[in-house]
C-alpha cells in the first residue's frame, strides 16, 4: 500500500544508513500485521482509512525515527553547551574587535571620497559576514568533536564522585569577564597595530602640503618592541585561558604576575633610554625632513617632550610595578588558600 511505503520511507531516511533497510523491513512487516488483524481481512483488501488510523497511532515519522536512535542526536549536548556559548561570545568579541580595527584603519587612511567610503563600508559588511560565519563554524566544529570524543570524568554519571567537584570560586578568584574581554580586544588591536600597521605609530609633520614622518618604533627600541609583542601575546593567551576556566587559579595567578613583570622590565628599559627615544635634528634630516621642520621639532623635543616622556615613563613604571606586586601577592594568597582548603 502506497501510504505504508511512504510512512516507512519517511522513518527510514532519518536513520543511520547501517540500520535503515533492516528497520524499514521490520516496520513494514509489523504495520502489515497490525493492519490485517485490525481490519480482519487480507492486506490487499484493507482500506486506506484503516491505514490512516493506524499510522496516526504509530506517531509522526520524525518521532518514531528518533526513538530508534540510541546515540546523541544533537550536535552539542547539555554537558558542553555552557562552555560552547562562552567560547562563541569570546570568539565573536575578538573577531568583532579586529574587524572594527580594520575598518578604523581603512577609514582613517582613506581620502574621504564617497566612492571609497562606500567601498570600505561594503568591505566591512563582507568581513563581518565571513569573519563571524567562519568563527562560528569553527567553534561549532570544535565543540561537535569534543562532544563526540570526550566525557569529562565529573560529567560521566557512572564514575562521578563528590571529590571530583571543582572547589568553590572564592570572591577573589572570580574572573572579571567584561574586563578580560576588553583587554583581549585591546591587546589584539595593539598587536595588529604594532606589527601590521607600524606606519600609524609615527611622528608626522606637514610642510608646504607635503607630509614628513619619523617612525616611533625605530631601531632604538627594536628589543623593546620584541618585549612588547611578547607581553601582549602572553596576555592574550592568558586572557583566553582564564575566560575558558572562568576562575583564577594558582597557575594563572603566577602567569599573570610574571607577565606583569615583563611590562615592568619593558618600562624600565624605555625609561632608562628616555632621552634617546625622540629623534634629534640629525635623525630627522636623515629621514628626509626639511631642515626648518627638523630644527623646530628637535628644539621642542629637547626642551619639553623629552622631559614629559621621561616623567610619563616613570609614572607608568611605578604603576606597573605596583600592579605586578599586587598580582604576586594575589598569587601567593591563592596558593595559600588552596593549601589550606
Amino acid at each position: 500500500m502506497d501510504l505504508i511505503e511512504r510512512y516507512v520511507q519517511e522513518v527510514a531516511r532519518r536513520l543511520p544508513r547501517t540500520q535503515r533497510n533492516d528497520v524499514a523491513r521490520e516496520l513494514r512487516s509489523s504495520i502489515e500485521d497490525s493492519l490485517e488483524s485490525r481490519a480482519g481481512v487480507p492486506l490487499n483488501e484493507v482500506g486506506e482509512d484503516t491505514a490512516t488510523e493506524l499510522l496516526l497511532e504509530f506517531g509522526p515519522p520524525r518521532e518514531v525515527a528518533g526513538s530508534y536512535q540510541s546515540g546523541p542526536n544533537y550536535l552539542i549536548g547539555p554537558a558542553h553547551y555552557p562552555s560552547f556559548l562562552r567560547a562563541i561570545k569570546i570568539a565573536l568579541a575578538v573577531v568583532g574587535g579586529l574587524i572594527a580595527l580594520g575598518l578604523l584603519v581603512d577609514a582613517a587612511s582613506s581620502t574621504g571620497d564617497i566612492g571609497e567610503l562606500a567601498r570600505i563600508g561594503a568591505q566591512a559588511i563582507s568581513d563581518i559576514q565571513t569573519g563571524f560565519l567562519s568563527v562560528l563554524g569553527l567553534v561549532v566544529f570544535v565543540f561537535a568533536i569534543i562532544e563526540r570524543t570526550s566525557t569529562p570524568k565529573w560529567l560521566s554519571e557512572d564514575e562521578w564522585h563528590p571529590s571530583d567537584l571543582p572547589p568553590v570560586i572564592e570572591n577573589a578568584d572570580q574572573v572579571d569577564r567584561a574586563g578580560t574581554i576588553v583587554g583581549l580586544v585591546l591587546s589584539g588591536i595593539a598587536l595588529v597595530l604594532i606589527n601590521l600597521y607600524p606606519e600609524w605609530l609615527q611622528i608626522r609633520t606637514f610642510s608646504s602640503g607635503e607630509q614628513f614622518s619619523y617612525p616611533l618604533l625605530g631601531s632604538v627600541v627594536r628589543t623593546e618592541v620584541m618585549i612588547l609583542n611578547l607581553y601582549l601575546a602572553l596576555g592574550l593567551v592568558l586572557g583566553v585561558v582564564i575566560l575558558l576556566r572562568n576562575r583564577w587559579q594558582v597557575q594563572t595567578r603566577v602567569a599573570d604576575a610574571a607577565i606583569s613583570a615583563i611590562l615592568v622590565l619593558l618600562l624600565m628599559r624605555l625609561w632608562s633610554k628616555a632621552d634617546q627615544l625622540l629623534p634629534v635634528r640629525g635623525d630627522l634630516i636623515e629621514a628626509g625632513w626639511p631642515p626648518g621642520q627638523a630644527s623646530s621639532f628637535a628644539e621642542v623635543a629637547d626642551e619639553a617632550l623629552s622631559l614629559a616622556l621621561g616623567w610619563l615613563l616613570l609614572a607608568g613604571l611605578l604603576v606597573a610595578t605596583w600592579f605586578a606586586i599586587r598580582k604576586a601577592i594575589a598569587a601567593i594568597r591563592t596558593a595559600r588558600d588552596r593549601q589550606a582548603g
Binding site: S29, S34, S37, Y68
Partner: protein, 122 residues
C-alpha cells in the same frame, strides 16, 4: 468526551510512569521468541497497551544494549524479526523483577499511608 481526556501535564506524567514499566513488561514476555506485533498483542491481552511506535524502537534499543537477541524468520508468510532474551537479558530481568517488587511494595505502603492520613483528617 473531552473532559475525560487527561490533561497534557497528567498525560506526560503517566507516560513517564509507564516508560520503565514497559521495559520490564517486554522483557517478561521474551523468554520465548516473539516478533513485534505478536508481543504487542500479548501485552494488550494482559491489559498493557503499548504504542507500536514506542514498542518497536524499544526492542531495537534493547537489542543494541545486548539485552535481547533477534533473528529474521522468512517462512511462507511475511518476514518477521523474532526477539528473545539474551543471557545478559535474563540476568537483567531478574534484577529488574526484584527492584520492581520492592518498588511496588514501597509505593503501596506510601499510598496506603496517605489514604490513612486523609481518612483521619476528614
Amino acid at each position: 468526551m473531552v473532559s475525560s481526556k487527561p490533561t497534557v501535564r497528567g498525560e506526560h506524567l503517566s507516560l513517564e510512569l509507564r516508560r520503565g514499566a514497559i521495559v520490564i513488561a517486554t522483557l517478561s514476555q521474551l523468554g520465548e521468541p516473539l516478533y513485534g506485533y505478536s508481543l504487542r498483542e500479548r501485552l494488550a491481552e494482559q491489559g498493557l497497551e503499548v504504542k507500536e511506535g514506542t514498542l518497536y524502537p524499544l526492542l531495537r534499543r534493547l537489542e543494541n544494549q545486548g539485552i535481547l537477541e533477534s533473528d529474521w524468520e522468512v517462512g511462507e508468510g511475511r518476514p518477521r524479526r523474532y526477539y528473545r532474551l539474551s543471557g545478559r537479558g535474563t540476568q537483567v530481568l531478574a534484577e529488574l523483577e526484584a527492584e520492581w517488587e520492592d518498588l511496588v511494595a514501597t509505593i503501596g505502603r506510601l499510598l496506603a499511608g496517605n489514604e490513612g492520613d486523609e481518612n483521619g483528617s476528614d
